[in-house]
């Protein structure tokens, strides 16, 4: 999920993504990528489709750079471009099965938006994909504010991720956080959050019903 604050944008995702059906198969797949100088793209859904999207964007950024004229595509342009791609694929009944989050900062203006696999798109101060929409966004709505500091933003993101980690069965405790400002992009190394599982109810799971699990 992602959040805006001041002139900085945050992305956070767990690096598990290579699911194989319901098996959490590949545990080190990076789902956040930098696009050009101004944009970050995060995706959930079908990894191969995400890789295809990255190829499209590679070519787009290449042509943008080849102009060599001082202009560059910013997050708003990338968002709209991806919206066109997703919507057109949906119209052909051959969608790219992803939920995409696009964020970035250009000339001090920050931008955060989302595009779904059927071409639904919008901009907001905080967005999320999948379960994040149900578990994280309500927390954002309560606790996000325009003038959060960097540390507060990270804490808020980690809080949401912890909730997701506890409650989403297809999440793993390995996260990356990406930050983008006018100076550039940094994507952190994967790290874990501290969790607590020592609840008494977990100690003897079949206490109330012998033979069950």
């Amino acid at each position: 999920m992602e959040k805006k604050e001041k002139a900085i944008l945050f992305f956070k995702s767990d690096t598990e993504f290579g699911s194989y059906g319901s098996t959490l198969r590949y545990k080190s797949v990076e789902r956040i990528k930098a696009i050009g100088k101004h944009t970050l793209l995060g995706a959930s859904g079908e990894i191969s489709d995400f890789q295809e999207i990255l190829r499209y964007l590679d070519e787009l950024i290449l042509y943008d750079n080849m102009w060599d004229d001082g202009n560059s595509l910013g997050p708003k342009e990338i968002h709209n471009y991806l919206n066109r791609v997703m919507y057109n694929r949906r119209n052909k009944f051959n969608p790219l099965w992803n939920s995409l989050v696009i964020g970035g900062v250009k000339n001090g203006q920050k931008y955060l938006g989302m595009v779904g696999m059927i071409g639904t798109h919008f901009e907001d101060n905080h967005v999320a994909t999948g379960f994040g929409n149900h578990l994280a966004r309500p927390i954002f709505r309560d606790e996000w504010s325009e003038d959060m500091t960097f540390e507060e933003a990270v804490r808020l993101l980690e809080k949401c991720l912890r909730v997701l980690l506890y409650r989403d069965r297809s999440a793993i405790n390995k996260f990356q956080i990406a930050k983008i400002t006018d100076e550039g992009v940094t994507i952190s190394q994967p790290y874990s959050l501290k969790t607590f599982w020592g609840f008494s109810a977990f100690k003897n799971p079949s206490k109330g019903a012998e033979g069950s699990w």
Binding site: Y56, W67, D69, Y81, R84
Partner: protein, 284 residues
């Protein structure tokens, strides 16, 4: 220019290294009525001389809005100019549709002239084979296909984007350059002389000063004919100001204030002359 054996089609070189058809196309631009453009750091102004085919007809349209932030002035074959302007409009709209943001101005002249620059990724390039949708390709391609002819029109492209104010001149040969100020069409040399004298100050001009300079330059091309708001068209584009043609009433007011200033300067000159005649030279 005289007819010779190398000027029948555009794909024939002359022994001296000319493509005569291209030169003839540029001549068409020189015969058109004048158009000038000048830019400051925040605004670009275009001005053209209105010429009517006869007293009964209306004058030719020479200034076209291409997008909210870009406009062009043409000189030469108006029909060709219209076709190019429509193409430029579609380029801008296509960009805005895909990217939800205005086309950077520097990316407009190349499509209007050359076939060699990469304009878009492969899956975006239009698949029309028989007539180039990218006029871009046109100006240059028109000089490289024997069944085509060059566009007989010069374009002054004025626009604003996040890198600032820009003025480009697109030539029928396929060349294009960026300018601080430029003039094309008949008697444009007079305007160019005026602009060359004054261009260093243009970057810091205010919007009003820019428009005044544009009108002064147009006045130079009229060579004594009276400048009125009916005989010229002025358009401006600036930061937070979409491209638009300025209405006649406002232009007439600017022209009137220019005349007042000139008359005042002339009076002052007359007074000084009197004084100096009184102070007779000391030498005998």
């Amino acid at each position: 220019m005289f007819r010779n054996q190398y000027d029948t089609d555009v794909t024939t070189w002359s022994p001296a290294g000319w493509l005569f058809q291209v030169d003839y196309a540029m001549e068409a631009v020189k015969q058109g009525s004048a158009a000038i453009g000048l830019r400051s750091a925040t605004h670009v102004a275009l001005a053209t001389v209105n010429k009517a085919a006869s007293e009964l007809s209306s004058h030719q349209k020479k200034v076209f809005k291409v997008d909210d932030h870009i406009g062009v002035a043409i000189a030469g074959l108006t029909a060709d100019g219209l076709v190019l302007s429509l193409f430029l409009r579609s380029e801008c709209i296509n960009h805005a549709f895909v990217y939800e943001s205005p086309l950077p101005v520097s990316r407009l002249p190349p499509p209007a002239s050359s076939s060699t620059l990469p304009t878009r990724p492969s899956y975006e390039r239009p698949r029309m084979l028989f007539h180039s949708k990218t006029v871009g390709n046109d100006n240059l391609v028109c000089t490289q296909r024997s069944w085509k002819r060059p566009y007989g029109v010069g374009l002054l492209v004025a626009g604003l984007d996040e890198t600032g104010a820009h003025l480009y001149y697109n030539c029928p040969s396929g060349n294009y350059f960026e300018y601080q100020a430029f003039a094309i069409g008949s008697r444009s040399q007079a305007a160019k002389t005026y602009l060359e004298r004054r261009f260093e100050a243009f970057n810091s001009n205010s919007r009003e000063e820019l428009i005044k300079d544009a009108l002064f330059a147009i006045k130079e091309t009229l060579q004594g004919e009276k400048l009125t708001s009916a005989s010229c068209t002025v358009a401006v584009v600036g930061i937070r100001e979409p491209f638009h043609v300025i209405d006649q009433k406002t232009i007439q007011e600017v022209i009137d204030s220019m005349d007042v200033r000139e008359e005042a300067a002339a009076d002052q000159g007359a007074v000084h002359e009197d004084k100096s005649s009184e102070e007779a030279p000391m030498d005998i």
